[in-house]
Amino acid sequence: MFEYVWLIPLFPLVGVVINGLFGKSIKNEKVIGGIASLAVFCSFMVSCGILFQLLSLPGEERVFEKTIFTWMQVGQFKADIGFLIDPLSAMMLMVVTGVGFLIHLYSIGYMHGEEGFYRYFTYLNLFTFSMLLLVSGNNLMLMFVGWEGVGLCSYLLIGYYFHKKSACDAGKKAFVMNRIGDFGFLLGVFTLFWYLGGTHNVWTINFRELAANANLLPVGGVVTAITLFFFLGATGKSAQIPLYTWLPDAMEGPTPVSALIHAATMVTAGVYMIARMNFMFIKSPTTLLVIACVGAATALFAATIGTAQNDIKRVLAYSTVSQLGYMFLAMGVGAFGAGVFHLMTHAFFKACLFLGSGSVIHAMHHALHHDHSEADPQDMRNMGGLRKKMPVTFWTFLIATIAIAGIPGFAGFFSKDEILWQAFSNPHHGSANILLWSAGAIAAGLTAFYMFRLVFMTFFGETRLTAKGFGALHESPFVIIFPLMVLAALSAVGGWIGVPPVIGHLLGGFPNYFEGFMEPVFAYSTEYMKSAGLAGEHQSIAMEWGLMGVSVLIACGGIALAWALYIVAPAAPASFVARFPVLHRAVYNKWYVDEIYDFMIVNPFKAFSNFLWKGFDVVIVDGIVNGVAKVVMGFSGVLRHVQTGFVHNYAFTMVLGVVVIVSVYLFR
């Protein structure tokens, strides 16, 4: 099966070609959507085959590299088109193709009747292709191709409704902010290549060769620079402080796109990249601390904003930023396995939440249309009581919400708890650990609060629609609720493959399959930590149980608060807002970060560009060009008097010229 790994990205590419070239003339939505979904489904089947073959091998043999051909070779630099199969990429392939297929399926129902249906599926397939290339490429250059490809598709899909100015602006914002990160990524590749080649004569960008030569990398120093460059790339793609502001705006795109690109897959590329190069990041304590702090800060900061948003998708967007912060927190404390585990569970429940919100918006749109109301179908203040009309959407949404809130037994609990425990007990950051853990734990409470606030405002209470509009509400078609059911099931039970040892022990030696599966990928880091004396002092089991209890209590507290504020006393939030108007306004306006960026960076940049335009371009550049033209005109103004327009003058000049030339020859 390994030999056929190249088929995985190929299927979606074929879908791109078919829908891109002929989609406009196919017209039939079922055929277009069917081709696109089938392509991703084929990739999913191949990925399954690869995963099963991987599982049948013993742990240390679970790696396979397939080089198709040499892509480019310049001097010592060589990049292949090749694929790397190991537990990490197999897991990513499964998530991308599995969740991707469900979202393709969902899109057929959700995008029904939209203009440019074929365009949507072409982009979606192109995205899948790029993402698969990103996670399966065997070298940094191929990863970068995927990295840029997903960025492009993200831009195209955010701006899908390009007749809306806000969508175009959001697309551009995403693209520009991603460029800043990409610049960091490229600098990282260059510095790494230059350092390993120049100092140790190891010229390579191949992941396996890099990992094999990881011993050549010093601790700190140049490695800190390289890893910080790569981390800058990750902050752009994965929406971390300071480059996170594009993700909430990206909600201008169609909802399935938000689910696939801006929740489940693309934004986790930064986490994948760090996990892929864990052997390098583990060697720089500075970088690890930076990553952990940025991750914890993002998790907390985005969660606070999420508590005051009224747009259902914006709440989920800030939730995504916050959850990505958790993953980076895990990376920063050296718990690569836990971070990747959270990546996977997050893909399940966040995709489910986004698709569920899409189902709600779909129904609300219909009901408001029925009401002849101009109200915003995404505003939660217009919803309420939807659970009676949309039971499947409600139940799936509730399960995913419980999962993200971290209630024991559901997927999010295992991964989030693992991260919090590692943040507390890791040997890297000493006294900072308690701060990292606190930030994570508070963010967990806020997460539970704003997610249940969302559920209560949307599905519980009395409807805010008219009776006629409420009557027009109906459950979404099967093609939409089927992916919801699958994802809800995964959100419910998906966490059991990564049960932490303390709980596993209680259940009679239930193993942590996920950790064991991922172990070969992070073997170097584990070994390195042992040899560097970073094994960490033994933490007591009581402590682990205690922290687990605390985080569950915090989560339950958040849920109870949401219950109290939005079900028991619905007037309470308004009086809270009235009591603390400044605080509410600051949170509601996202702490004015966009305004601060506008003030500090965007506007000075615009002013500088204006200066370059009016000062430099118009005066100096145009001045030089026009000056040259004026000089030429001045000379020609004199010389053109020679051109009299009389044929005789020309003929006379010619004869004169001939006479002169002949005389020169004769009398020389």
């Binding site: 053109r640 008097h641 051109q643 009299t644 327009g645 009389f646 044929v647 005789h648 003929a651 006379f652 004869v655």
Partner: protein, 100 residues
Amino acid sequence: MLALNNYLILSAVIFSIGTIGVLVRRNAIVVFMCVELMLNAVNLTFIAFSKYLGNIDGQIFVFFVMTVAAAEAAVGLALMIAFYNNRESIDVEDINLMKL
């Protein structure tokens, strides 16, 4: 048989007549005929040298010059007619659209 210089002198005289005609006459047809005169003066020189040097090349060249002259006459006369249709004149002084 006449010496070479007699032919060359005759040729130079005819060429000069042609040149002066081109420069001073105003009727385009006459200018044209003067150009032909210059070409034929050159032809005469070619033939004279060809005979004197016993080399056939000059005579071949004459054929080329005659061909070019014929083509030139065809194009030139067509231009004259087109110009006459526009301006009702074939005076070269009137061909002055390119002037400032």
